[in-house]
């Protein structure tokens, strides 16, 4: 599909980096402020989707299947499973326990292993939403031909 008018393209060029940064802020401060993995992941996916919508899918040279984002999604969940599994070997030897030291309430590096879980979930949700969007775009192009 074709892209949009030059005004939209220019504004997107300026803004999409800020949206991405805002999404990363929501993900990493998930243990201090509302938000966390899922909400931040949705915002990050929103920035990618905005890019594809504004510039049109012709420029991206989309392949037949959405391979790269699907692999990133699976890697995100595998990271989560590895972190949860590592709890069996460290600390209290229970699956899914919180085994890193919990610091002072309100600092960025505190609350044990929860920020790492947030990052894994954020990567996974962003990749998953982008994969769904790409699947619908690629399918629409095949139908229209």
């Amino acid at each position: 599909m074709n892209g949009m008018t030059p005004i939209v393209k220019k504004v997107t060029q300026l803004i999409v980096g800020l949206i991405f940064l805002y999404g990363i802020y929501i993900i990493t401060h998930g243990h201090l402020t509302p938000g966390g993995g899922f909400a931040g992941g949705a915002v990050v996916a929103g920035s990618f989707v905005l890019l594809v919508l504004a510039y049109g899918s012709n420029i991206l040279k989309l392949k037949k299947r959405e391979e790269g984002s699907s692999v990133v999604e699976s890697l995100g969940i595998l990271l989560f499973t590895v972190l949860a599994f590592a709890a069996i070997f460290i600390g209290t030897k229970v699956f899914f326990a919180n085994y890193l030291p919990k610091g002072v309430i309100g600092e960025l590096i505190s609350a044990g292993v929860i920020p790492l879980y947030n990052i894994a979930v954020g990567i996974e949700v962003a990749a998953a939403l982008f994969t769904i969007f790409l699947a619908l775009v690629i399918y629409k192009e095949e139908v229209l031909k």
Partner: protein, 508 residues
């Protein structure tokens, strides 16, 4: 041994997410890893049964100990009923996955099939193990969303329409279940099943609790395809690929429908006589209407799907008679016998309905036809398929010495001893009608005049034969469960956790 309990959920989930990553590079990786994972889980379940479960084993996720007698962790509970259901689920999953190795070759996206299949089994294992209400809802949704995608796997017209119908109805049922969980949380301020059981025991008649019970019957009844919530089942189970049909009809409607009903109603709520009467009536209606609708079907898999509704009605009737006896403070031995009959019929139905769907899939794999009027005379060319299908048809109709005879006999004897003579008479009549339509299936599909338009008929490949032969041997082997020695080891713990409510509260 308690440390091994979360493996039932972690291993299928890990397999489901490793397959898209590694399956691109290594051919055949997905088939070996799913077969190995399910074989390992089956061996683990059999080992747990042989060790014997005297009191429930619990595993608190994350290691959060109770604070001041209030449980705050998510519990995984392994007691007699859970290990019994886990055995069935993992057995049918292993055999269906093994069957699918040859069957899925005609579709293109093999990686996705095995990933979704493992995800569905992970969700079912989670529903059976969990001791927490909202966790039950989350695992239920994982299993059900994977099954939506699997029903629409070969992207033909009928499969997409069946999947859409299934999704809209299933989505509404999930919303009803979520609403009921919300009402329960509002009343008791806790989500742990055993904790709610202690709180409800202390209180008495409460209108919100009765409303939430009725909403739960509607929600889980749709997942278990009880009349009048059965409208999605004939389309979904006949349009899915055959290994998925056998999984859906054999274990999914039991693990997320019937198991959830009997766990919540026997172990959590304090049942009144009217709710037990409602459940038994719905069971009897399912039995009758499912059979009557199955007589006129000419499509193999649609006939088998309607027959599933009827047999699920048998299970619900058996369990419902036990519930009725418990609420009127009758003889506990008769209630135990009735629940034993219901659970025995559950495992029997998983085995022979799975076998019937697998053999129907074998017929479709070789001939490409599902209409009974166009088939015929296949027994000489496909001996394994036709003989295993004959064994399964005799078993489901209740012919001795196959397992279906013994489970139906126990249900009928329990109904007569509890003085519900009408229910016993209806069960016998429906059993005869079941024999009628299965004889029709056998005659038109396997015996009779051969259709000369079908050429190059051979037997199906080895993996499909292996699953069918194993299930046919189990059809005869499971009738050994009626012998008192083996019954004590396997079924008594399952029945005990339902009759004695105090057993479940030992986990707190």
């Amino acid at each position: 041994m308690e440390q091994l309990i979360p493996l039932y959920v972690i291993l299928p989930l890990g397999a489901a997410f490793l397959i898209p990553v590694i399956g691109r590079f290594i051919k055949g990786f997905q088939k070996t890893i799913t077969s190995l994972v399910f074989l390992f889980l089956l061996a683990l379940s059999i080992k747990f049964i042989l060790n014997g479960i005297n009191e429930p084993l619990t595993y608190k996720i994350g290691g959060w100990e109770p604070v001041g007698n209030i449980p705050i962790a998510i519990y995984f509970v392994l007691d007699g009923l859970s290990i019994f259901m886990l055995c069935i689920v993992n057995l049918i999953a292993f055999l269906s996955g093994f069957y699918a190795i040859s069957y899925i070759k005609k579709y293109t996206a093999e990686n996705n099939f095995y990933a979704l299949f493992s995800l569905m089994v992970a969700g079912m294992n989670g529903v059976i193990l969990t001791g927490d209400l909202f966790n039950l809802f989350v695992f239920l949704e994982i299993a059900v969303i994977a099954s939506y995608a699997l029903v629409a796997f070969g992207i033909e017209k009928e499969e997409l329409e069946a999947s859409f119908k299934y999704q809209v109805l299933g989505g509404m049922a999930s919303l009803l279940i979520l609403f009921s969980i919300g009402l329960l949380y509002w009343n008791t301020k806790t989500l742990n099943i055993a904790d709610i059981a202690t709180l409800i025991k202390a209180g008495t008649y409460n209108k919100i609790l009765i409303f939430s019970q009725l909403v739960l019957i509607a929600g889980f009844g749709l997942k278990a395809a009880i009349i009048p919530f059965h409208a999605w089942l004939p389309d979904a189970h006949s349009s899915a690929p055959s290994p998925i049909s056998s999984m859906l009809s054999g274990v999914l409607i039991k693990a997320i429908g019937i198991y959830a009903i009997i766990r919540l109603f026997f172990n959590m709520f304090a049942i009144s006589h009217e709710i037990a009467l409602t459940l038994t009536t719905l069971g009897v209606l399912s039995m009758v209407i499912g059979s009557l609708l199955a007589i006129g079907q000419w499509d193999i898999k649609r006939l088998l799907a309607y027959s599933s509704i009827s047999q699920v009605g048998y299970i619900i009737m058996g369990v419902g008679i036990g519930l009725l006896i418990l609420t009127t403070n009758g003889n506990k031995a008769i209630a135990a016998l009735s629940i034993f009959g219901g659970l025995f019929h559950l495992v029997n139905h998983a085995v022979f309905k799975g076998l019937l769907f697998l053999s129907a899939g074998a017929v479709e794999h070789r001939t490409g036809i599902r209409d009974l009027k166009k088939l015929g005379g296949l027994s000489s060319k496909m001996p394994v398929t036709s003989s295993s299908s004959l064994i399964a048809s005799l078993a489901i109709s209740g012919i001795p010495p196959f397992n279906g005879f013994f489970s139906k006999l126990v249900i009928i004897i329990a109904a007569i001893q509890a003085q519900y003579y009408w229910l016993a008479a209806i069960a016998i009549v429906i059993s005869i009608i079941t024999l009628a339509y299965f004889l029709k299936l056998q005659k038109y599909a396997f015996y009779g005049k051969a259709n000369n338009k079908i050429n190059n008929l051979k037997e199906v490949p080895f993996t499909m034969c292996f699953s069918m032969i194993v299930l046919a041997i189990l059809c005869i082997g499971l009738s050994l469960l009626i012998i008192p020695g083996i019954r004590e080891a396997v079924m008594e713990p399952a029945v005990n956790t339902l009759i004695n409510k105090a057993n479940y509260l030992l986990i707190l």
